[in-house]
Symmetry: C2
């Protein structure tokens, strides 16, 4: 839903190109379906679907290693959760930068959320500031790409509200870490999403096992 | 040869783990053979071989797009050459960081060369300084990984001299952008290598088509 609201924000000012990365996460096929559905909704022709095998080879996360169970939600957890995929967002942003440089794109939108999130280190604002420095240092002088994180300081409630304001197709999105048919309602990602919709006074249009 | 000399430098102080990335470059199988041979030479058991399909999907480089010819060497070129693979090294370093974080590694060695090179933006010292900031911002607090670039300020001649001093197995390395059996001797990479060996007063042990 964070990516989808980013797309809704971006499409007011930019022509969109959509990047999807399958990296061996449990809900890979469902996320890819969401990507294709949302791309269809916004009539996006410029699409790149990538498959990374190495994040699952490397492991160290409950999202990519089937031997590590998905934890029940704990939104008051202080430590970094087992769902953290080591340095994952750098892989996504590197692909977006390489592609953006060839396309001549101006901006990379990513739906990172800092405070109201699972506490991943690669979702913090300073991380994206440094990534923008990295793009300037590591691309051609005439490449003018900037990573934009429009929802990074938002509460999930505000992301829901913003999405409804911009008619974002929430019914096409997927957030659950565990399931691909009916969202589990029990993992961190479901819990954050459900709380966001509740606080916004809105109905989440996707199906949940426990609702 | 730059990676190999890095390994020779690193193995004095560290236990080695070797990363190879096949990214659709023309000389992929030959580079993988070099990787395996050099890993064997240093008795490295901890190895990760990754395949990235997206750099070739994205294109924009003579190394990954067969429709763009490999240019004849021009070591006085001022602009960024067509062999530049957009933002390539960020992909390599992101994999190394994810893997290093799971392994509990302390350092990532990369054989980037700044001045005496083809002029790629992602080979400059400031790029690696920023990448180290990115690692600190985007990994767990107890992850203490640093990218080390021991040959970045060296001339190719010094890399050759250093390699001989440390008994680096140059005969197992591969640098040619074009060929996989006998090095072409005509691309930038061959030209830089041959000049380095010549200036060091050493014989390059690999076979060349034009020698």
């Amino acid at each position: 839903m964070d990516s989808c609201v980013c797309a809704a924000i971006a499409e007011r000012d930019y022509r969109l190109a959509f990047l999807h990365v399958s990296y061996g996460q449990r809900t890979e096929p469902r996320e890819l379906k969401a990507f294709q559905d949302i791309a269809g909704h916004y009539h996006v022709d410029e699409k790149l679907v990538c498959r990374l095998n190495h994040l699952a080879q490397i492991g160290g996360s409950s999202l990519t290693d089937p031997a590590i169970p998905i934890a029940e939600a704990n939104l008051n957890r202080k430590e970094i959760p087992m769902s953290y995929v080591p340095f994952r967002n750098a892989h996504f942003l590197s692909i977006a930068t390489s592609w953006g440089e060839v396309l001549g794109a101006k901006a990379i939108f990513i739906g990172a959320v800092a405070e109201d999130s699972s506490g991943y280190p690669d979702c913090r604002p300073e991380y994206y500031q440094v990534f923008n420095q990295l793009i300037r240092a590591g691309t051609k002088p005439n490449t003018l790409l900037t990573v934009i994180t429009p929802v990074i300081h938002m509460k999930k409630r505000e992301i829901v509200t913003t999405g409804f304001k911009l008619a974002a197709p929430f019914h096409l999105t997927w957030s659950c870490y565990e399931n691909t048919e009916v969202a589990c309602g029990r993992c961190d990602s479901c819990a954050l999403r459900l709380r966001g919709f509740k606080e916004a006074g809105r109905q989440d249009p996707i199906p949940y096992a426990l609702c």
